[in-house]
Symmetry: C2
Subunit: 248 residues, 2 copies
DNA sequence: CCCGAGGTTTGATTTGTATCAATGCCAGAG
DNA sequence: CTCTGGCATTGATACAAATCAAACCTCGGG
């Protein structure tokens, strides 16, 4: 049975209710984190005309592997899982996209992965072809996209080491520490609670483990007083333990 | 004992002996495969002035993880392994670079991986800062680099699926098929013999396995009449078997 | 307040791959 | 021709994680 059968096609919403039209980008709280930080005020207002705010509800798909890439997206809130599936149902999650992350860096007309909303998600949407034309005329934007791509590539290489060479315990320690860093970056300040919006199955598919091994390993860490489990997340009790067992 | 202790620093050689200075790029046999295909005749001669042909002998390092990235490279012949190492000696090979592949796409001043010559290697070398200045002024070159980067990213995602979700048999089938495709691309025509210049340990470190499992799996395939083992490589006997077991 | 569904935890058992330990097989040096 | 060192192969055994199988929350709906 396909575990993804509950993923429904996305439903596009009307434009953002919280900003007057014409102010979205200037007041965007993820601009500093995103592609758009490379864009000056004048370009920003032009870019804004190309963009549309979209909302995806929990468990809906932003797009699927086999879809044509009509749009590209800048995630502004929520968490998205990036999934590659095998014909027999095995899944690998190659990453989680959060506020500031860009989907569609390659500007290819075909996606090579699915993007599914783990939580409710807001994203700034651009028509792919239009965005490509724009970036073709703005070398500094292209360069910023290239920097994003090579950064992603470096993260992908880290993840290959994790998948190929770490133990279950090391995988979880690395994952939790990385998640802490990403929330800190998004929130703009140190956080205590590490929110885990994704389910155990998603964590398993990200780390190349089974759900049972993820559950056992986290609960073992709890029993060993390395962390406490709280609603919707965990909290480090022994941060040094995670630093010592994680990859970089 | 560190398995890499035999990797010695590279020895730089004088410029290419086979071409008169001023003709390297025009007659370059990997141009069509490389970054340089995006460069027109005039730019090519300019680029050529920036470049120097280098030779690295088998087992030497082009650069190491911890080195500062002074140069970037365009591989013109031979095979390079890209390695990430853990402090305790565990290794993950994130890829093999062959003719046409570019090392230094990120243009960062620090490498995040080592590059080691598996065979004798020739590469076209550029000063990183100079190359960056050049690409900053040539949007189509930057775009080509970006395309290379996002293609790499897609390959990296494939490899994550392999590492996280495939069995040893599937990993080997995928690896051999992928290698066949890459040799075909480099040679410019279909090939029968799939050369395996890298040792079993390198294959293991690429696939997230041990050397024993690689050896057992290949020899099992041989016993099952899926392939024949020949000096320096293998030959498919049952190509359909590999197609059926490989990832895409 | 109870029920049911979806997700999580826990336990028992199996298994694929790692580990440990020889042995085999060249190719190059002497 | 024989020795030697560096892989590669093969076999026996161990073990980490997968698989199979319940039981257990918890939260929203009736």
């Amino acid at each position: 049975m396909d575990r993804n059968s509950d993923i429904v096609p996305f439903h596009e919403t009307a434009s953002c209710a919280h900003h007057a039209k014409g102010d979205e980008c200037r007041f965007c709280n993820v601009r500093r984190l995103s592609i758009c930080a490379a864009v000056d005020a004048e370009e920003l207002s032009f870019l804004e005309d190309l963009s549309g705010d979209t909302v995806f509800e929990e468990k809906s798909a932003l797009f699927r592997e086999e879809d044509e890439a009509i749009s590209v997206y800048n995630v502004t809130s929520g968490v998205v899982r990036l999934v590659r599936s095998l014909p027999d149902g095995r899944r690998q999650i190659t990453g989680f996209a959060m506020a500031g992350d860009f989907l569609g860096l390659s500007l290819n007309t075909s996606w090579s992965f699915s993007a599914e909303a783990v939580t409710d998600v807001r994203a700034c949407r651009f028509k792919r072809s239009t965005f490509e034309d724009f970036s073709d005329r703005k070398p500094h934007l292209m360069k910023r996209m290239h920097e994003f791509a090579t950064h992603e590539l470096s993260l992908a290489q880290d993840h290959m080491v994790l998948l190929g060479r770490l133990t279950a315990e090391e995988k979880l320690a690395t994952f939790l520490l990385e998640l802490k860093r990403r929330w800190t970056r998004v929130e703009g300040h140190e956080i205590g609670l590490i929110k885990l919006p994704m389910g155990r199955q998603d964590i398993a598919d990200y780390l190349g483990l089974t759900i049972e091994t993820v559950s056992r390993t986290i609960n073992q860490m709890h029993r060993d007083r390395r962390l406490v489990i709280v609603p919707d997340g965990i909290r480090f009790v022994d941060p040094a333990y995670f630093e010592a067992h994680a990859l970089r």
